[in-house]
């Protein structure tokens, strides 16, 4: 198996480094703007829920965080897999960059979920719930990835070792996704993801969508920034790195 040609070109580290530097501010600021709009809409404009009152507004922070936690894990695992198969340093760099961001969002999803659970279910945590447990497992997978990466000195070794862990941990993703359908659960089933017939009103939905979009853009920007740092570390021997490092930002 060979990588497609265009991917090869994009995957050339200096090219990536430059492109990323160019698109990153755009993503960052548009993401932040969308987050601001979404938060404003969610906290002020959207009507209170007839069952949950204002507590449901946590959704505007919980769902984007939970969504990104999973997406970033997928990114990390795909990056690791590509790295393992094609020995592409850029893919490893992206995986390593995604991990701390994903860890933060997983923590946020857990925290907001727990803060939501207290008023809704009367408890911060329930061990019996498959979704909660599987998200906690993902938290530990992120943590394991980062700790393993940090504790192996040789970077290429760390990339491959932690990458294997990330790939093995992928089995957890479908479990998170479908846990609410496979097992009886306290947790909400899919409400918005059924786009054809969303179960909530448009007034409540649009800030959520804006919020998710903004968070995605924001996390991409942050991941790209980190990925640039990781690429520099991995390309230490290349000439372009010296120029890039000297060009102070």
């Amino acid at each position: 198996m060979r990588l497609p040609n265009w991917l090869h070109k994009f995957a050339s580290p200096p090219h990536f480094y430059r492109i990323a530097a160019r698109i990153e501010p755009w993503m960052l600021w548009s993401g932040l703007a969308a987050i601001a709009v979404g938060a404003f809409g969610g906290l002020l404009l959207a009507p209170p829920d007839y069952q949950q009152g204002d507590a449901y507004r946590i959704i505007y922070f919980h769902v984007p965080a939970a969504y990104l936690a999973m997406q970033l894990y997928a990114l990390m695992a795909i990056g690791s897999a590509i790295g393992l198969i094609w020995r592409m340093k850029l893919a490893y760099a992206i995986a390593a960059a995604a991990a701390p961001v994903g860890l933060a969002f997983t923590g946020l999803a857990l925290a907001t979920g727990m803060l939501w659970g207290k008023p809704m279910w009367g408890a911060y945590w329930s061990w019996g719930d498959a979704r909660l447990t599987s998200v906690l497992v993902m938290f530990f997978l992120y943590l394991g990835y980062m700790l393993l990466h940090a504790s192996l000195e040789e970077r290429s070794t760390a990339d491959r070792a932690a990458g294997i862990l990330a790939v093995v941990g992928v089995v957890n993703l479908p479990i998170i996704k479908f846990s609410v359908e496979w097992w009886s659960s306290l947790h909400q089933g899919p409400t918005i993801s059924r786009l054809a017939a969303p179960a909530i009103t448009w007034d409540m939905l649009w800030p959520l969508l804006v919020m998710v979009a903004g968070s995605v853009l924001f996390s991409m920007a942050v991941t790209l920034t980190r990925a640039r740092a990781e690429v520099l570390l991995r390309e230490r021997s290349a000439r372009w790195v010296r120029d890039a490092a000297e060009a102070c930002a």
Binding site: V137, G144, L148, L152, G163
Partner: protein, 221 residues
């Protein structure tokens, strides 16, 4: 393949030289499971409800106990280099080592579990289901732990990190194992979770040796 068998045989010989660890392990298993029935002083029917949980958790923990010994010594005495440089696929290597480890640390648990289950007041079909869940679940656990052990083998005191890597992934296996036994104890058919365990084991057998082998290679340097 045949080299894998040689590795397997070697492993057995070494484990039996270190028989004290095996005995300590089995003793720990019997010890800590019976601790509850001794000390907690619960009524029989309550004991029966949690017997499966206790035995499973102890199985998991005692398995973790054995894990640091899987690749660490090989790495330190240089044998791992030699094995990686033999023509055998490292996946076979990992599988052989995991198999030997299971026979020494896992199999006794499976064989002992009906006895322990009975001491917890499990009865009838549950006494068959419990060892069945262990027989399906513990190999998968060992394979998981083998991946983690391979990843952390370079780190000398990586026991803690190893546990952290294994436990999250081991959780589903544990849950299904307990679930099946509990269903059986309550007189329901336990086929579904047993099937799940079987599926886990197959997936583990198909995937994890390769992951462990890749991990061994990746951390060689």
């Amino acid at each position: 393949m045949r080299i894998g068998l040689a590795v397997l045989r070697n492993e057995f010989l070494i484990y039996f030289k270190k028989w004290i660890h095996i005995i300590v392990n089995i003793a720990f298993f019997i010890f800590s499971t019976s601790l509850f029935s001794l000390v907690a002083g619960l009524e029989q029917e309550l004991l029966a409800e949690w017997g499966a949980g206790v035995i499973w958790v102890v199985a998991l923990l005692s398995m973790l106990l054995a894990m640091p010994l899987l690749f660490q010594p090989d790495r330190e005495d240089g044998t791992l280099d030699l094995m990686l440089l033999s023509a055998v696929d490292p996946a076979w290597l990992a599988l052989a080592k995991a198999a030997a480890n299971w026979c020494v640390f896992g199999l006794p648990l499976v064989l002992l579990s009906p006895l322990l289950g009975a001491s917890y007041g499990l009865e009838g079909i549950a006494l068959l289901v419990l060892p069945a869940t262990l027989a399906l679940g513990t190999p998968a656990l060992i394979l998981l732990a083998a991946v983690a052990a391979a990843l952390t083998a370079g780190l000398r005191r990586g026991v803690g990190l190893l546990a952290l890597l294994v436990l999250p992934l081991a959780l589903p296996i544990l849950l299904f194992g307990v679930r099946a036994t509990e269903l059986a104890a309550d007189g329901f058919p336990a086929g579904a979770p047993l099937m799940m365990l079987g599926a886990f084991l197959l997936a583990a057998l198909g995937l994890l040796p390769w992951a462990a082998g890749a991990a061994l290679r990746a951390t060689a340097n």
